[in-house]
Symmetry: C2
Subunit: 379 residues, 2 copies
């Protein structure tokens, strides 16, 4: 594609903010993106808000606080992949010629709304029977261990690395380094996953300003291009096929790579939806960034560290940066934009020219249906 550019990004700190409303969080992130882009907010022609728990027309409620009214505003609910799905739709609207400047954001407050694991939908029979996310991922971890020799220590190492990275990220929810032993001795959630193998719930928001190639030169001389973006859902077969692999991640990735004209070997930095340590391994492999079965070994060998062969989740990922559901997808994009611009501070991946984000949500009919969005960004 190559005709949509990101010219500004922003995010709030992720964390627990009992005294702040979702409108307040959303406004901060959107304003930060607007300032980063250096645009007059009145240039924005449409907006997409990703969220899942924020009530009716949450996007409009956020934007009215910025005086952004009149324009089309859409609320996109695709579970944990809500704001990335909205961003993709914003890109399509730009590519259609309808708009030149679009705001894509996500805003979520989870504290006070949910506790512990996200509850299954009422029609989710498997969820009612106990196969909620941690249980589902525990089974996948067991299978990965059986099939590839992955160990609990390797899983723990994913947490160690993400938490180490988050210490370098001022916006992260948890900025405390841990050891493999601490992960393994934390409370058992669903064997073999411990508390520190799981992402927390959180509050936060993130935003990005997208523009067409028709107008980009008015705003910046250093755009980051959305060179490939794709959304997929899971196939019916995914529940019965190899659960160490994600068909919908594979499908979205192949489309995004194809549109960008690159392969996984060209990616310099990736933000991956690591709601659990095992998820980072399964998804890095499904994206083609790591050979099948080697994810646990690679993290243990430092190959996915900031200075490694393919840096994964320099932000600290969902595990340590946090996971305010609707905000996560666009926050990943913000992180990659900062790396491509050389503005990622102490966690900078040196010389990064191509970045990837992977955002994933929802379980449907016992399979991992939902939505997956993969984005390739280039400077």
């Amino acid at each position: 594609m190559g005709q949509v550019a990101v010219i500004g990004v922003g995010m709030t700190k992720f964390g627990k903010f009992p005294d702040r409303s979702v409108e307040d969080l959303g406004r901060e992130a959107c304003w930060a993106a607007i300032q980063d882009a250096g645009i007059d907010p009145r240039a924005i022609q449409a907006a997409f808000c990703g969220h899942i728990y924020q009530g009716s027309v949450a996007g409009q409620r956020v934007l009215v606080e910025l005086g952004l009214t009149g324009i089309p505003i859409y609320n996109i609910e695709n579970a944990c992949a809500s704001s990335s799905s909205g961003m993709e739709l914003g890109c399509l609207g730009i590519l259609s010629g309808q708009w030149d400047v679009v705001l894509a954001f996500g805003a979520e407050k989870l504290y006070g709304k949910i506790k512990g694991a996200i509850a299954p939908d009422e029609s989710d029979i498997e969820g009612d029977l106990g196969i909620v996310a941690p249980a589902f991922w525990a089974m996948r971890a067991r299978r990965h261990m059986h099939q590839y020799g992955t160990t609990p220590e390797m899983l723990a190492q994913v947490s160690v690395q993400n938490r180490r990275n988050a210490c370098l990220n001022p916006s992260a929810q948890y900025r405390k380094a841990v050891t493999v032993e601490e992960v393994l001795s934390s409370r058992l959630i669903a064997d073999p996953l411990h508390l520190l193998d799981c992402c927390p719930i959180g509050d936060g928001a993130a935003a990005a300003i997208l523009v067409s190639d028709r107008v980009v030169r008015q705003y910046t001389t250093r755009p980051v291009w959305v060179s490939g973006i794709a959304v997929s859902s899971g196939s019916l077969e995914s529940g019965t096929s190899d659960c160490t692999f994600e068909d919908l991640t594979d499908r979205a990735a192949k489309q995004a790579y194809h549109r960008a004209g690159i392969g996984p070997e060209d990616v310099n930095v990736a933000e991956i939806h690591n709601c659990f340590t095992i998820a980072e391994i399964v998804r890095s492999e499904s994206l083609g960034l790591i050979p099948r079965g080697e994810g646990g070994h690679w993290v243990t060998e430092g190959k996915t560290a900031i200075k490694g062969k393919i840096p994964i989740n320099p932000s600290g990922g969902l595990i340590a940066k946090g996971h305010p559901v609707g905000a996560t997808g666009v926050a990943q994009v913000a992180e990659i934009v900062w790396h491509l611009r050389g503005e990622a501070g102490d966690r900078q991946v040196e010389g990064a020219k191509v970045g990837l984000t992977h955002n994933r949500g929802g379980i449907v009919g016992g399979t991992e249906g939902g939505a997956c969005c993969v984005t390739i960004l280039k400077r």
Copy 2:
């Protein structure tokens, strides 16, 4: 625009279906649209589901029942204008060149989830103070009466006409004619609005198949064209300006007319978001279909009846056909498509060549922020 066509539509009966799931209702409507279009469901490349109360990834949960997996699926939440907003995004995706065949649908179960008026959002201070939808509309009715001499009898006549039309619509929730006296003697909800001035809650689903002009001839020789479609939100000023007029309806309508290259005088039939009798009057005027202030007079004079000057809500509208929130926008499109094809049975508007739908949702910050989608359809 003129490059997107509707080639198939379908809907469930609207009503109270305690024994049916939203997946079941959605599947029925989508399958009806697929059959109406005469397409292989595997031709569908993306889907948009409008809903507000159906939990996470509801669209994916509906479509997995049809075997429609793998493709991008988006859940759109724009309050009562959810499925029309989704349809507009589907059109933009087609116009971008990304897809040629898109499914837009809405599905909602309200019975068992809400009771009476839809509750205000937690951040809606005015709502908490009592300005919920019926109260808001009662004040607008009072102002319209004061300003233009509209009477409670004229409001009641809107209900009488919609309920009469619904008697001709097998899919309508309420198919019982009423008199002006019956409306006026029904329970007072918010003076001057009585129970029969208000739309009911309901369960139901509706779907439409959209295709590009690049492929339309493969499927049909009699497409209905989406000749203009636009989404807007309300402006900050709308709460302080004349409440007998809707700025966001006006804004969306002007854009849709402009894109279609027509004016309101060219419209032969309209489905308008009449959640209350006064809403039909205010919105018909805001759309330019009726001169300002004359809505009450026109309905009393029969000018908005099926055989009148500008037939409004031949389906029975939200008041009598029903209002399963997420389904309403696409159900309006289905109704107009049937009229343009001459397939609307006993309620057919003879010779209709241009139809309009108006779908509207949400209150933000005490103003009518939310979303409005206006669509112009042509055969």
